[in-house]
């Protein structure tokens, strides 16, 4: 016993051979969990703040519409008035109905009744454009709308 103890002076090093595997596992986890938003924003999109908000956590039931003034480098081409962005292109008001119906048909049938249109509208936009879009959505029979906002921290709110 004592001879064996004397023999082994230094403690054995912990094997780090499985460390890459662990890290890769983490890596793959993050790669699958996070969604990378592919559509590049062509319009300024600073959302307003609100406190009494509901969370939109089911990504598969959302159709997004962006509204805002064109980004700085696109101002020469697109002008300075508010524009509607659907997917990755600037669209006209008349394109809203075909777009939302097209997106709706891509969704699985089970969730079609629960689809919400998330309106991401820049702070500085006038409400006129928004109400025009709302009228178009009514034509498409999509009545569930979410005015997407940043979550403000108002201590008076119920949260």
């Amino acid at each position: 016993m004592s001879t064996w103890r004397n023999h082994q002076r230094a403690e054995p090093a912990i094997s780090t051979a499985s460390l890459p595997d662990i890290v890769f596992m983490l890596l793959f986890f993050f790669m699958t969990v996070t969604t990378i938003n592919n559509s590049e924003l062509l319009v300024d999109n600073e959302l307003p703040e609100a406190t009494a908000v509901n969370k939109l956590d089911k990504r598969d039931r959302i159709i997004e519409i962006y509204v805002g003034t064109p980004k700085k480098n696109l101002k020469k081409v697109l002008g300075t008035s508010a524009q509607i962005q659907l997917d990755d292109r600037i669209a006209h008001l008349n394109d809203v109905v075909p777009y939302v119906l097209g997106e709706l048909s891509k969704k699985p049938e089970a969730v079609r009744n629960f689809v919400t249109v998330s309106m991401k509208v820049d702070k500085s936009v006038k409400v006129g454009v928004v109400s025009d879009i709302k009228k178009e959505l009514q034509k498409a029979h999509l009545f569930k709308v979410n005015y997407t906002t940043y979550q403000g921290n108002d201590p008076n709110s119920g949260f």
Partner: protein
């Protein structure tokens, strides 16, 4: 010189470093975005077949002009006072049928919470941020009242209960129990927020 057998092994010690580098890159670049916002139901485009007669005193009109000024019940109002005014209107309880209301029972204001309607009108030129702030205050008024009743009945906030009910991770047994409670509170103060067409002038 010792003889080698086969090809030399590649040193895998730096593999972990490389993987960490990738991991940190993904952690930094991706944002887990959970959007939040104000949920609204749009009215159907067809007008209802029969006209529903609503008495003027049951309607709380909020007008926003293009400069962001508020006209509430034909009086100019500051945004700060909007929530209190809306709460006062909702739980006014003029006909006395609402047992849990603490309103003033002013005969010129709403009959009871189920009849009270908030009508929001805005100009086309109103700024979107103002519009959202006003909507937020009105939804906040409903939430305040619902929270108060939920605290009284179940000792917890309505918004808290609702978010737990809507959370898909909540076990279904808890959710079934919450469903009745949430429904009960919602029926106490039904959210009747009408967004009429924007005026053009």
């Amino acid at each position: 010189m010792p003889r080698r057998k086969g090809a030399p092994e590649v040193n895998a010690g730096s593999m972990a470093d490389i993987a960490f580098l990738l991991l940190i890159f993904f952690l930094v670049t991706t944002t887990i975005e959970t959007d939040a916002g104000l949920d609204r139901m749009l009215p159907p485009i067809e007008p209802p077949e029969e006209d529903v007669i609503i008495r003027q005193k049951n309607i709380f009109t909020v007008n926003i002009n293009k400069n962001g000024q508020l006209l509430v019940e034909d009086e100019l109002m500051n945004l700060k006072n909007l929530r209190t005014a809306a709460i006062g209107f909702l739980e006014n309880n003029a006909d006395g049928s609402c047992t849990y209301c603490k309103g003033k029972k002013d005969p010129a204001s709403s009959d009871n919470p189920t009849k009270a309607i908030i009508s929001l009108k805005n100009d086309r030129e109103t700024k979107y941020s103002t519009y959202i702030t006003v909507q937020n205050e009105l939804v906040g008024a409903y939430n305040d009242l619902r929270n108060r009743e939920a605290q009284r009945l179940y000792q917890r906030d309505f918004t808290d209960m609702e978010s737990e009910y809507l959370n898909p991770e909540t076990p279904s047994s808890v959710r079934d129990e919450l469903k009745d409670k949430v429904k009960r509170i919602q029926d106490m103060f039904p959210q009747k927020l009408s967004e009429a067409d924007t005026s053009t002038n």
